[in-house]
């Protein structure tokens, strides 16, 4: 009984008891040592987060002056891709048209609906020619998405947004460089 009262009165004393202090000290030291082991694992696991997407610009091999404001031209280039310890130059395509202000618009041929390759309107000689389908110049063979020469989808298309566009640069000699892809909203403005 007296032992109980003694302990009860000790527990009412302010501050830490010896037992609590030792528990915290040991627990804190243990947690510190465990975290020394665990932190490198967590950091290593989250390494992919700090890696951006492909940011390199590649020379398309064409000068801006080769393109026009009426119809897109097909450009074949090799996009560099770093994938872990592998790196490769992936054969890629883009449709390039000049906008009203003369700046190049390089569109990905990947349909924004489910990822098929859209077709431009080409003549028998494989050269771009005006569309037979009103303003719709790109047609997706899979689900019939239609796009204008600027890659804006038709209202009835299953495609949710315009064709993605490459970031572009032009060097002193006038060559067009293609960079990472960006999405656009339905007004054709780059959103990301």
């Amino acid at each position: 009984m007296s032992d109980f009262h003694e302990r009860a009165s000790r527990e009412q004393q302010p501050g830490l008891s010896r037992r609590q202090f030792l528990t915290y000290a040991l627990g804190g030291t243990g947690a510190f040592m465990a975290s020394l082991v665990a932190v490198p694992f967590v950091v290593e696991t989250f390494d992919p987060i700090r890696r951006g997407g492909a940011n390199a610009f590649v020379n398309s091999g064409h000068k801006v002056s080769e393109f026009n404001k009426t119809l897109p031209q097909l450009v074949e280039f090799r996009a560099h891709r770093d994938d872990g310890w592998n790196s490769a130059d992936i054969p890629s395509r883009a449709w390039v048209i000049l906008q009203e202000d003369g700046s190049p618009l390089a569109m990905s041929p990947i349909c924004t609906h489910l990822g098929c390759q859209v077709n431009g309107t080409l003549g028998p000689d494989g050269k771009p020619e005006p569309s037979q389908d009103g303003q719709w110049w790109f047609h997706c063979p899979c689900h019939g998405s239609k796009y204008t020469v600027y890659g804006i989808q038709s209202p009835g298309s299953p495609a949710p947004r315009p064709l993605d566009v490459h970031k572009v640069k032009v060097d002193e000699a006038g060559y067009l460089y293609l960079g990472p892809l960006q999405q656009r909203n339905s007004a054709g403005q780059v959103i990301s």
């Binding site: 290593e44 390494d47 872990g84 592998n86």
Partner: protein, 223 residues
């Protein structure tokens, strides 16, 4: 807060006896360094287990970036070392830890030997300990090949020839070990599978036996 969560679970599942049974023991006076400093030699078994635990953890995290293929293995190891954030630290833990396991295990074995703890009734636990020793050596041998550099390749080539020098059955053992007639792609996949699947399974079973027997027989008495 934590206490409340614990009490909530404990009230429903009665977990306290479970961990009490595993963790809550008096340390005998003759193995307690707080009483007699020289009793630290009794720590080596626990230290071996601690290092093995970190080996398993660091190995799991290395496996996220490693690939056991002769054209890519070395590049993936280089990627871990040079590119992945703190990847060289995780690889370093696994690399140095591997030697540390062997050192700790050997010290533990010396302690058991010189305190006579292997004697009746603990002979079976000594046998299990020796099996663990072989499994850990197997980890070292198979893990050494995985970076697929010159050192790895030739160490395995020599090791395979040692196995091949056994009379009569040596060549068969060598071929089975390498998965092929020379050290190559099949050796790498085979050693990888042994290193990350077969040996860990064997090790966990043996460690469980080791610990269950200690619990059943208690720590050997003082000298």
């Amino acid at each position: 807060m934590l206490k409340k969560a614990y009490d909530w679970i404990d009230e429903r599942l009665n977990v306290t006896p479970l961990w009490r049974d595993v963790a809550d023991h008096d340390v005998p006076a003759h193995v307690n360094p707080a009483i007699k400093m020289s009793a630290f030699v009794y720590c080596f078994g626990g230290l071996t287990f601690l290092v093995i635990t970190t080996q398993i953890l660091s190995g799991m995290f290395l496996a996220m970036y490693y690939t056991p293929d002769i054209t890519n293995a070395w590049y993936s190891v280089k990627y871990i070392t040079d590119e992945v954030l703190l990847g060289n630290v995780v690889r370093g833990m696994h690399f140095w830890g591997a030697s540390l396991v062997i050192i700790m295990m050997f010290l533990h074995m010396l302690r058991v030997f010189f305190t006579g703890a292997y004697k009746k009734p603990r002979e079976m636990n000594w046998v299990v300990g020796v099996l663990i020793f072989f499994v850990v050596l197997g980890f070292g041998f198979t893990g050494y090949l995985l970076p697929w550099d010159q050192k790895a390749y030739w160490a395995t080539a020599v090791g395979a020839q040692l196995a091949g020098s056994i009379p009569w059955i040596g060549p068969y053992i060598q071929t089975l070990l390498l998965g092929s007639h020379t050290v190559g792609a099949l050796t790498l996949t085979r050693f990888f599978a042994i290193h990350v699947f077969f040996l860990p399974a064997a090790l966990l079973v043996l460690l469980a036996l080791h610990f269950i027997m200690i619990r059943a027989q208690h720590i050997a008495g003082p000298l």
